[in-house]
Symmetry: C2
Subunit: 568 residues, 2 copies
């Protein structure tokens, strides 16, 4: 069960012998196991729902016909992708009804290793939100990148058995698992009786069989109903993803409509702060799912009890007696924005805003700061070595709304869109710098740089000249990490991300505003034409996605799985 | 996940790079998560299903259109009630498709305590069947009975944490839990992250709320659809029971038909060997459920993945890659008798019979024998003290097809049906004997005795005179426990149950035959008129069910929860 032990007072409240802490009356309650709305009151004691129906209570709240559901659960999210520290994250998503998240701190682990994961686990403790923190399984993500840390099977086992991690985070190295790589199988075995999350885009047939036989249990990469259906038929849990970039719920809805909600839940995976503030979080998934034809109760079941069930969060996902009092009250169900949110029986949000004092500040530990160190001043030539006009070079080709890059060949000086690109190792002062070219950004002047650079999170930088690139990188080192746009030797806009170079220590609204300004400046002042240039920038180093990538080790042809020369 | 680690060879089979051990082709496979029948082959390696679709294989079995389902799981059974030792039990139920059982060894624990539970856990290890053994929570069942052992919270915790018990067995003392009894709450807390099974007949409203708030998660005592519906709405798992005496599936079917299969499974609870051999086991539950209108796939889902899910048997309940190859092949689905049964990839039964050599003999450990010792010869007067005609006495009134007894007042010598009843302590040679009267058996001569006497399992005996009763009890002591019918100082029929006085060490067919002879003799030679006189006999000492019971401590008015005099 793993539910908290009940107090004798709470039992007395359940029996009706003592007054409840809180009685929520006048609502209709979603019964998740029987798929019904039932008119009843909910009695709460010690943060637990202890009874249905009328009770004496110290506080009575009449919700006037509201729909009452369990708190929403995100089945898989990289909290670092929101660029928010955990208190700001909680403050951003509790008002839209998220009371629990399964977190894979893969990004922080690439910078700070197990120590970073443990810092995150400590930080979430005081928050009024349940964090099921997984042990990242693929750090570093590829042999081409100089990450800040490595996690092997022993580290993963320690995170699970000693620190209480919820399971093994998404096993991105699916080719290794399928091929029977001993280290990957050892990492899966480290889960013991916990869960093993997967990541298997377009893996099907015998390859999928092997991935499943190895013990992987879930996937959030399905992009078509057919792909999701094969996975569910074969027993895999499918998390329907609606991130900032990858938006799959509409495409996957038919598998739920036709085959029900078993082995299905929602996840955000990667959501930018602007998306969180504008569109919401799991409530946005529910809204889109219902628009796509999934019955309302089914969508709510997926957003609550199914996700809780998968992650073994036995005290969450239901409004039944014995469950934690994570309760959402909806005046209407079209936006799925709750009017009120209780977490463990405490009102934490009302009318879309956090209740004063509901979220304690969680000062980030010292070790999270100061992770961006290049170790020496960089010259323009280090970043943008001169190449004669007429040289044919391999350029990373980016396209709007796609994280796949193209392996393009461009002639320098031909007038085709081209800019310099550099990736500078920033974790261990190795001095490693990879240089090359990118096309498709439309950059006409200045430079952009970011310490968010999946998955090793080195400094990635593009520019029309080495001088501004050097200024941009120096500025990021100065502010401890973040994203910056530079023109003529001066930063025009920046977003400081001093926590592991990935996250801000400021509230969500500030972060979202700074991010919007950065995008605007990149487009209007520097001429960038690709959509979301900083998101594109943060992915050009990710050497596990086709076709051409740049790491601190050099230019990588991902399909050939080897380094290649910049010059053709 | 807690699934066994995959071998590199099994992974190679999954990929299609090496031949499978077994390929089952030509069937339609039940996909439990998507509720479909799918035509595909199943490839097996190392006892695991590793792939769907064609593979090379060392052995190919064409099932010619058969329906393939996961092995059946009994969500709650007292294996002692079958009167069979575990090898004979497996031999009886594997041919009808049961490949896993959640066992609450409550009866053996009443006789031998934790040592008996551990002996059972050791005994099941070599069997081709999964036993999830729970730690009995209510031993002894009541303060009125002298049981052979006691289990407190510390014992239960040790059984779970040290010996790997699957959880806390049915918490029968629901009044104690609801009232907040500290020892009962400690026993529930001993579950840690494991399950807590419940037992809450007709408990509803605030009392049910309290029972659930205390952490109890399942129930198998619901007898009406309304009772089951309230329990499922409140998040409780409901096991639809079809035992030998209590048969509830038909009454409960509407809750499944209307609200689906979430939080629902099947259980046998208590099944006699004759019922097992005649009607079957979980397959019988499925057959009755389908007859009662539950859709075929829903009934199969409840019998497989739902029960596995509840009990955390993550490698069971599905035919997907990565799951144990517990596979049933059905030529037809009306009787739900499988034509073939594979367990962990081995063919264990075919055409309703065990495959030669599939089940190893499991010799019962020495400690299971010799548990019936009265300690002194008993005289007729010890068991049937003389009472003058005309005396008005309280008599335990039994009725066919009910385990509730009536608190009857009968005048001795009035011609009304009446016999002597005695319960003799047999565990610790305390010399305690409770005596009284029973009515409704219709016994006209001789005596019946049994060491199966819920829940303390002392010797319970009825007779028309003390002499035959003394012979019956002496005979049971002589054969180490069992059931016997005596007339004129000689046993006419008997069933030896030398294992804890509860189970035979013989095959199911022999046990069932002996039991049938006993019933016949009781009816034809001794005049018994009540249905199943030995089952009635074995329940007249159960001092937790209304209304009047006899224990080794004396006559108990269960409703008043105290001893009462035999004479009014």
């Amino acid at each position: 069960m793993a539910r908290p032990a009940v107090s004798t007072r709470a039992l007395a409240v359940a029996r009706g012998d003592e007054p409840a802490d809180l009685l929520i009356r006048g609502g209709r309650v979603l019964a998740v196991a029987t798929h019904e709305w039932l008119p009843t009151s909910l009695a709460v004691a010690d943060g637990m729902i202890v009874g249905w129906g009328e009770r004496e209570a110290r506080e009575v709240v009449d919700v006037d016909g509201a729909a009452l559901t369990p708190g929403f659960v995100d089945a898989h999210v990289h909290v670092e992708s929101t660029k928010l520290w955990v208190d700001a994250f909680a403050a951003a998503v509790l008002p839209v009804g998220t009371t629990a998240v399964a977190v894979d701190p893969h990004e922080i682990a690439n910078v700070l290793g197990a120590a970073g994961v443990r810092a995150l686990m400590r930080a979430v403790q005081p928050l009024p939100m349940t964090f099921a923190v997984y042990a990242p399984s693929c750090v570093p993500a590829s042999p081409f990148e100089g990450a800040g840390a490595e996690l092997d099977a022993t580290d993963i086992r320690a995170l699970i058995e000693v620190d209480g991690a919820a399971g093994v985070g998404e096993v991105m190295n699916f080719p290794g698992v399928i091929a029977g790589d001993a280290e990957m199988l050892a990492r899966i075995a480290a889960a013991g009786s916990r869960r093993v999350d997967g990541h298997s885009p377009e893996v099907s047939g015998p390859s999928l069989d092997a991935y499943l036989a190895a013990g992987v249990e879930s996937d959030h990469e399905a992009t078509s109903a057919a792909e999701a259906l094969e996975k569910r038929r074969k027993g895999m849990w499918v998390f329907l993803r609606e991130g900032s970039a990858s938006r799959n719920i509409r495409a996957l809805a038919p598998t739920i409509i036709e085959h029900g909600t078993d082995h299905a839940a929602f996840c955000a995976d990667d959501r930018e702060p602007t998306t969180l503030l504008t569109d919401g979080h799991v409530n946005d998934c529910v809204r889109i799912a219902v628009e796509a034809g999934i019955p309302e109760i089914d969508a709510l079941v997926m957003a609550t009890t199914r996700a809780a069930e998968y992650h073994g969060l036995w005290s969450l996902g239901s409004l039944a007696p014995g469950y934690q009092a994570d309760i959402l009250a909806f005046d209407e169900l079209s936006s799925f924005k709750p009017a009120r949110v209780w977490q463990a029986g405490q009102l934490v949000a009302s009318g879309g805003a956090i209740v004063d004092g509901a979220i304690p500040a969680v000062p980030p530990e010292h070790l999270l700061y100061g992770t961006v160190t290049v170790g020496r001043p960089l010259a323009a030539d280090d970043l943008a070595p001169a190449v004669p006009d007429g040289t044919r070079v391999r350029a990373i080709g980016v396209e709007s709304r796609s994280l796949t890059t193209r392996n393009r060949v461009v002639t320098v000086g031909s007038g085709e869109d081209l800019c310099f690109a550099a990736v500078v190792e920033r974790h261990r002062q190795t001095g490693r710098i990879g240089t090359g070219f990118a096309t498709g950004f439309g950059l006409r002047r200045g430079a952009l740089a970011s310490t968010v650079a999946h998955d090793a999170h080195n400094i990635v930088c593009i520019g029309t000249g080495g001088a501004d690139m050097a200024v941009a990188i120096a500025r990021l080192e100065e502010i401890g990490g973040g994203q910056v746009a530079v023109l003529d030797g001066r930063p025009l806009a920046e977003l400081a991300l001093p926590l592991a170079g990935l996250m801000s220590d400021r509230p969500a609204a500030e972060v979202a505003a700074a991010q919007s300004v950065l995008s605007l400046v990149a487009e209007r002042e520097l001429g960038a034409t690709v959509a979301e240039p900083f998101m594109q920038l943060s992915f050009i180093a990710l050497s596990v996605i086709p076709e051409l990538r740049l790491t601190d080790g050099g230019l990588v042809d991902v399909d050939a799985f080897r380094y290649v020369d910049v010059r053709v």
